[in-house]
């Protein structure tokens, strides 16, 4: 396969792995916050 096709495919694959990792991180983060937090999941904007 031409090298000019391989480079974007490699970058795409790396991007895919990182994106997947970020998605897993988000799920883990939300789970951890809700597990260790007593507050319900709603907006809590305070004006400063």
């Amino acid at each position: 396969m031409s090298y000019s096709f391989l480079i974007p495919l490699q970058v795409f694959a790396l991007g895919f792995i990182i994106s997947l990792g970020m998605a897993v991180l988000i799920k883990v983060m939300l789970f951890a916050i809700r597990k260790f937090s007593n507050e319900p999941a709603k907006d809590q904007n305070e004006t400063h």
Binding site: F12, S19, A23, Q44
Partner: protein, 329 residues
């Protein structure tokens, strides 16, 4: 004395090469047309009105810089010699904006701060896998344009730079029937969760890609300001930074569209490849939206797919407008 020498914008038309002169007129008319499309709302007015004005002004306002050369006193983007640059900074009125904000990425960071302030990342946090999948499909233009660009003679660095345009902004129009699909509601993500995500993601991404750290910081600090409830900072960034940055971005883009620059074969190639990259990315985004639509048993609006193309929310805005039009009685 030739009377036309007083009106140099016109007399330069007769001195320049015919194709540049004709293209100057074309770009003047195109600039006026972009202003018209912006005021009508067909294209994003925040960008198109300053861009259209800039484009028509820079192509009309050509003068004799010396007895034998023509140019403008708007900007010289190709200048790199320090002494010449210091000289031009005192003459060309947009040169300081270009040199100190455009070419070093400051204007992009300012716009990203504003985007962070107006962005609700709730959908991303609620559906991270769907969001990432759509974003990956919306990068299709980047992947497919790279080999096309290298085949057209660009080196790997140039091809990568122009292919990345596929992940950037671009106004797209969708088929209205996609707008008629029902969407499922999603639960709110709290501001605290969004703030914690902003802190973690910012730090992690800066560790992984320090070359893009200024953009990460800008975007996530905007999100942090929004989710912390810092209204005064949010207003400063949204109304001050974002709109100032957007205005000058549009104006600079218009002023950079000078006929002699665009007719440079290399620039023309980059323009065509950039448009191709955006087009393929748009198609990729729509494909990604439809894949999620069928995977979720039609419980997902595929219109969201094209919003994955944008690093600034114009395609999302266009998609939202088309959906609203399709759903209005």
């Amino acid at each position: 004395m030739n009377i036309l020498d007083i009106f140099q914008g016109i007399s330069t038309l007769f001195v320049q090469e015919p194709k540049i002169a004709i293209f100057r007129i074309v770009l003047v008319v195109l600039g006026i047309f972009l202003v018209y499309l912006g005021t009508k709302g067909t294209l994003e007015p925040l960008i198109m009105i300053p861009m259209g004005f800039g484009m028509s002004a820079v192509n009309a306002g050509v003068l004799f810089l010396t007895s034998s050369t023509t140019g403008t006193i708007f900007i010289d983007p190709m200048l790199s010699d320090t002494d010449a640059l210091m000289n031009i900074l005192q003459i060309d009125f947009l040169q300081p904006i270009y040199t100190f904000m455009f070419s070093n990425g400051l204007i992009a960071c300012i716009v990203f701060m504003g985007i962070g302030v107006i962005t609700d990342i709730g959908f991303l946090l609620r559906y991270p896998f769907t969001s990432m999948l759509i974003a990956m499909f919306a990068e299709l233009g980047t992947v497919l344009t790279f080999p096309i660009a290298t085949a057209m003679g660009l080196n790997y660095g140039e091809a990568a730079a122009v292919s990345l345009i596929g992940g950037a902004d671009g106004p797209m129009v969708l088929y209205a029937r996609a707008a008629a699909v029902k969407t499922s509601k999603f639960h709110n993500i709290s501001s605290r969760e969004k703030l914690i995500f902003a802190v973690i993601a910012n730090t992690l991404l800066c560790f992984l890609f320090p070359v893009a750290a200024p953009l990460f910081l800008s975007f996530f600090i905007g999100i942090a300001v929004r989710e912390s409830g810092l209204d005064k900072y949010a207003k400063l960034i949204e109304h001050g930074f974002l709109y100032t940055g957007t205005f000058f971005l549009g104006l600079m883009l218009g002023v950079l569209c000078e006929a002699s620059t665009i007719l440079n074969p290399k620039v023309l190639t980059l323009l065509v490849l950039g448009m191709l990259s955006l087009l393929i990315s748009g198609i990729g985004g729509i494909l990604g939206g439809y894949i999620v639509y069928f995977a979720n048993k039609k419980n997902f609006n595929p219109v969201i797919g094209i919003a994955g193309v944008s690093c600034v929310p114009t395609t999302a805005k266009v998609a939202q407008k088309e959906v609203h039009k399709a759903k209005s009685p």
